[in-house]
């Protein structure tokens, strides 16, 4: 045993083994809820004891022993599990697909998105209710209730513990990717003040995407999302300055970007795109980020290529926010007038979206319409609750 374990190491070990244990136990017991309770119990015991005692040499076996012992205690009254539990040994019979089944069950479309997220973090990543609550800034009781309800629904509504077959698989993979993408965004877009907690979510999202990419290698969108997350992370060191303020892409110190990680992620994306020729929203978004990441300076950004990618993205997944981002690319290809004209159509749908007003402000300022620019920035400031964005806007208003 090794003592003095950092939280980071602990989180990694728990995430790696809790999901595996949960998958095996659900499989063996055939009862999602019971298995999940046993795993959480083992995880909580580990989180209490490992910081002092160190991580055991075989964390998986340790967690399993605790789960099994706890199971025997709890289920003393319920003889059907008792016989099964008594026979269980670790490692459980190898079933490489078990964790995939677990992910698909947690992300079943019959569960609400909030429940899918909470359940995935809890069951697949082994996070505690308190950790999930902290990451999403909601009361712990809310998370606990979501998880309890979701588990009840899985049992009572007959949600199967199964990898969807055939034509259903791509749709269900899409559901899982949406959950991972939301986790990533929640972590990535959070401000510095929240970053200590939120970084875990970005970590979890990358880990889940990598796990999924291993388990479902034939879906290029999975590789696309993994590449997207890794490309964003590769530039992470330049996103905030020493004071914790958000730094705009144009002003970032590109020397801080992790070039090797960028190359690897780009290669992953290229392999997926060339190997399958099935472009999708995640691959396209990753390709856009790759264009930015590959430019040595902001001035060398290949905006024409980015504009093409946005057009493809809009074709596959039309959305006003994507149109807003496309307008930014358009500004660099055709100038601020053209971009502003694009935004005119979006005013109604994006009225409450701070980035819409901030983008408009930039374009107006570039065109010398300072008073209008100022009003747009003020509107953006009213709408954003994110401290990093607030700081940036305040700074910009201060320059006027």
């Amino acid at each position: 045993m090794t003592g003095g374990v950092s939280q980071e190491v602990l989180a990694r070990v728990v995430r790696e083994h809790a999901g595996r244990l949960a998958a095996s136990l659900v499989s063996l017991l055939g009862d999602f809820s019971a298995a999940e309770d046993l795993v959480q119990d083992a995880v909580e015991t580990a989180l209490r004891r490992w910081p002092a005692e160190g991580v055991p040499e075989r964390p998986d076996a340790w967690l399993f022993t605790v789960a099994r012992r706890r199971g025997l205690d709890v289920l003393r009254r319920e003889s059907n599990y008792r016989a099964k539990l008594a026979r269980l040994t670790w490692p459980a019979p190898a079933a490489p697909d078990d964790r995939l089944r677990l992910i698909f069950t947690c992300c079943h479309p019959a569960l609400s998105r909030a429940a899918q997220i909470a359940l995935t973090l809890r069951v697949v990543c082994g996070l505690s209710t308190a950790q999930i609550a902290a990451a999403f800034l909601v009361p712990e009781s809310t998370v606990a209730q979501r998880i309890t309800r979701a588990k009840r629904k899985i049992g009572e509504a007959g949600i199967p513990y199964r990898i969807p077959a055939g034509e259903e698989l791509p749709r269900r993979v899409g559901e899982v990717l949406a959950v991972i993408y939301l986790l990533f965004n929640e972590g990535y877009l959070s401000s510095t003040a929240e970053r200590a907690q939120a970084r875990d979510l970005v970590d979890d999202a990358e880990w889940l995407a990598a796990l999924l990419a291993n388990l479902v290698p034939r879906e290029p969108e999975v590789a696309g999302l993994l590449a997207l997350i890794r490309l964003h992370r590769a530039r992470g060191a330049a996103r905030f300055d020493a004071q914790g303020h958000l730094v705009l892409l144009a002003d970032q110190d590109r020397g801080l970007w992790d070039r090797q990680a960028i190359e690897q992620a780009t290669a992953l994306l290229t392999r997926a795109a060339r190997g399958h020729r099935r472009p999708g929203p995640y691959q396209l978004q990753a390709a856009i980020v790759a264009c930015h990441a590959e430019a040595a300076t902001f001035a060398e950004t290949d905006w024409a290529q980015i504009l093409v990618l946005y057009d493809m993205l809009l074709h596959l997944a039309p959305s006003p926010v994507t149109r807003l981002h496309r307008a930014v690319a358009l500004r660099h290809v055709k100038g601020p007038e053209a971009a502003l004209a694009e935004l005119a159509d979006l005013g109604e749908v994006l009225e409450r979206y701070p980035l819409f007003h901030a983008t408009r402000a930039e374009l107006l300022r570039e065109l010398g319409r300072r008073e209008q620019a100022r009003r747009a920035d003020e509107r953006a400031l009213e709408l954003t609750a994110n401290p990093a964005q607030q700081a940036l806007l305040e700074q910009r208003l201060g320059w006027d």
């Binding site: 019959a110 007959g158 949600i159």
Partner: protein, 112 residues
């Protein structure tokens, strides 16, 4: 597991059906008939309800039973019928519900 699929109609759907020509209406009914035939192996029971204007509601929570005209919730969406199916799990019930060719909403509930 047994599930009940509740077929939910909307005003818009009813109006569309009403506005159809006779041939189109026949085709729509034929599609429903085909759906029942396709899933005959899973459907254990099914019923089509008379239109919502025939509904009568009795409220029992106000001292005396109160009888009123109409459904218990006045809404744009009303249950127009249901089918009970016997399948392995929710995914199979969902597959059946997805292929339903008529009214726009289907609620799936396990039979307790």
């Amino acid at each position: 597991m047994k599930y009940v699929l509740m077929f939910v109609e909307t005003e818009e759907f009813a109006a569309q059906l009403e506005a159809m020509g006779e041939l189109e209406q026949q085709a729509a009914y034929a599609a429903v008939g085909q759906w029942f035939a396709d899933h005959a192996g899973q459907i254990t029971h099914h019923t089509h309800l008379a239109p919502v204007h025939t509904a009568t509601t009795v409220r029992l929570d106000q001292g005396e039973p109160v009888v009123t005209d109409g459904p218990f919730v006045e809404g744009k969406e009303v249950v127009s019928g249901f089918a009970e199916v016997e399948v392995a799990d929710l995914d199979e019930a969902l597959r059946i519900a997805r292929s339903w060719p008529a009214c726009p909403v289907v609620e799936i509930r396990p039979v307790a």
